[in-house]
Amino acid sequence: MIEILRNMMRRKVRTGLTIFGIVVGIFAVTVMGSMTEYFNGLIDHARAGAEESIIVTPKGGIRATLSDADARRIERVQGVRGVVPQVSTFYESLGSVSFGPPDQVLGIPPEKILQLWSNDDLAEGRWLERGDTYQMVVGTSIAKKENLKLGSTLTWREKDFQIVGLLKETQTAPDGWLIAPMDIVQKTIKRPNLITQINVIPEDKRQATALAAKIKDEVSNVNVQTLQEQLNAIEQGLAVFNAILLSSAVLAAIIGGLAVVNTMIMSVSERTPEIGLKKAIGATNANIVGEFLLEAAVIGFLGGAIGFLLGWGMAGLLNVGAAQALGGSEIFKITPRLAAIAVGFAVFLGILAGLLPAWNAARLDPVIALREEV
């Protein structure tokens, strides 16, 4: 009796260790995956809002800028309904490490704001209006970080700005934007005519790509991209990053899967007489295979589910930590899709790992199997 209990304890340790292997692997997949989900989410949200706008940026190196003259030239291109020049700069000087879009101060001529945004984008307050000076409309994450409400005052570059509007949450870059009148921003950063980007509104949104090409032809020294193109380029760069993030985690899970193979082989060899008996009283090969595959799948599932839950907890913890360090951005994002992939992958690995042992078990000759161990 003690012997049996001890055996069971031994098996518990073995099964426990095997499950733990999967747990660690899936934990890593979940945490790393939540980071890629965050970045993917940024792109998706940006894409959803993209419509077909065209963005003109300066051509040339890091120090290239645009001017009023460029804006006027673009405005004259046929098919352009309007242009919105902007100046953007970092809210704070960048630290050495940052994840996600940095907080930015964006200068836009107040009278042109409604060409890019609508009143639906506001959660509270109002948009900037002609005549506004040191007024700002701010995004949700920066509002949270600096504890801003309607009427609060924010000091930026030694100037006091009054908050007149709060944006709705977008889960993308605008959450970290502080929008102020363009001339005021230019004055505050002491670069009077600086324009860093021009948004072009096409007369016909469906013709955006063609219009972009036309602007490229007619206006020299500018980069013209539709927002879609820009996002595609970013997405490509992201793919490499994602691969690096995820590859080790997936490998860890695969190694966990190898341990499942080992454990199942042991289980089969321990239960040889039992299998022989089952076959002798009429169990089919499929019954035996099913039994062991199910066992392997359960190991995978348990490991996957526990690993995912721990990963979720860790992501939550890291978000709190990161929010403090990075100022409000939650860069670990658990999505239903990620949950399904993490647990699904673990179950799949378990089943895959169970195939060989299960097949071995089914292949046993009942006569030999029974004789062997008794």
């Binding site: 340790v13 120090r63 290239a64 000087s93 050495s96 002491k190 690096i244 080790s248 899970a253 190694i255």
Partner: protein, 374 residues
């Protein structure tokens, strides 16, 4: 006989699976580690390159904050400063999303092109000289990538730069630069006073810290880094990236270690009879522990070595594949240090994994162990 062979075959598979677990983990560790070694190498090389020069850059790294000739004059007046080399940098082409190092134009005063980075030497041609306008001295990588030789040209801001010198390889930033007369760069980017950074040459290298402090005290709006501080700063920035890169791989190896525990527990179980016998004929607990620890360490060693060799192979392969995209730079750098760490980690983990099984083997009561299995 057949029985024994079959048992051995089973055990072979088990041991092999366990080793493969370690192999995959160490493979991941080697590949990811080689990438982080590459980045650390970049920093070390960059620091060597600075020699004793102090780097002065704008306080904020926004595009809008720049230094001017006024700042230069202020720095020149500081006690202990022997010379100041202002530079203006710019990208040769548009910045895309890429993992490679961007190609950068360095505007330098022509008579300082040879002293900017004191340790770089010319492979071919000459340094810039007073009176040069569209002449350029290019880094080794840039030359290789674009297939440049003396007399070749590079297109930059609608002008052809003529190559008059090619630098020796440094394994860091200067490999991808094109040095051009500072005045030319300033003119082409329409910023006549622009200074992106200054390299300050100290009169007495032993006093860099003091001089750096003097600059900090006397010039506003600048960041001042001694070579040592610059290295620390860069390393800090890299730390997060390294944790992500190597963290996943370490987890993978860890999961492999869990499988070693499992395998060793099974081995001990199988060999209880043998262990009992050994103890009965006088083997000490220490001997039993050593036997199983050695077995576990050996699994770690074999897995570690195979993993390292495979990882090295993969790194070499990846280097060959990415060389084209990155213009010949090898971003996977398998260093002796990395090799030692990888294999050492595998052995340590194996040994660690062997502790519990070895201990439980030594603890066996020889009388019971012999009785149970016979």
């Amino acid at each position: 006989m057949g029985e024994i062979l079959r048992n051995m075959g089973r055990r072979k598979l088990r041991t092999a699976l366990t080793i493969i677990g370690i192999v995959i983990g160490i493979l991941a560790l080697t590949v990811m580690g080689s990438m982080s070694e590459y980045f650390s190498g970049l920093i070390d090389n960059a620091v060597n390159l600075l020699g004793n020069n102090i780097v002065v850059s704008p306080k904020s790294n926004d595009f809008e904050s720049i230094l001017t000739t006024n700042d230069e004059r202020r720095v020149r007046r500081i006690a202990g400063v022997s010379d100041v080399i202002p530079i203006a940098n710019d990208t040769i082409e548009e910045l895309g999303v890429s993992f490679g190092v961007p190609e950068i134009v360095y505007g330098v005063p022509p008579d300082h092109s040879g002293t900017l980075f004191p340790t770089i030497t010319l492979k071919k041609g000459r340094w810039l000289q007073r009176g040069d306008e569209y002449e350029t001295v290019v880094g080794s990588q840039l030359a290789k990538k674009r297939n440049l030789d003396l007399g070749s040209t590079i297109r930059y801001r609608d002008h052809d730069l003529v190559v008059v010198g090619i630098l020796n390889e440094t394994q860091t930033t200067p490999d991808n630069i094109a040095m051009v007369n500072l005045d030319t760069v300033r003119r082409l980017i329409k910023a006549p006073e622009l200074i992106a950074a200054m390299y300050v040459v100290p009169e007495n290298p032993a006093r860099v810290d003091q001089i750096a402090q003097n600059i900090r005290d006397n010039v506003d709006n600048v960041q001042v880094f001694t070579p040592k501080e610059a290295a620390a700063q860069a390393q800090q920035a890299l730390a997060v990236f390294n944790v992500i890169l190597v963290g996943g791989a370490v987890l993978a190896v860890f999961v492999g270690g869990l499988a070693v525990i499992n395998t060793m527990i099974m081995s001990v179980n199988e060999r209880r009879h043998e262990i009992g016998l050994k103890k009965a004929v006088g083997a000490s607990d220490g001997e039993i522990v050593r036997e199983y620890l050695t077995e576990a360490a050996l699994i770690g060693l074999v897995g570690g070595v195979i993993g390292l060799v495979l990882g090295w192979g993969l790194a070499t392969l990846l280097n060959a594949v990415t060389a084209q995209a990155l213009g010949g730079s090898s971003i996977f750098n398998v260093t002796p240090r990395l090799m030692a760490v990888s294999v050492g980690f595998a052995v340590a983990l194996g040994t660690l994994a062997g502790f519990y099984p070895a201990w439980s083997a030594a603890r066996l009561d020889p009388v019971k162990a012999l009785r149970v299995d016979s």
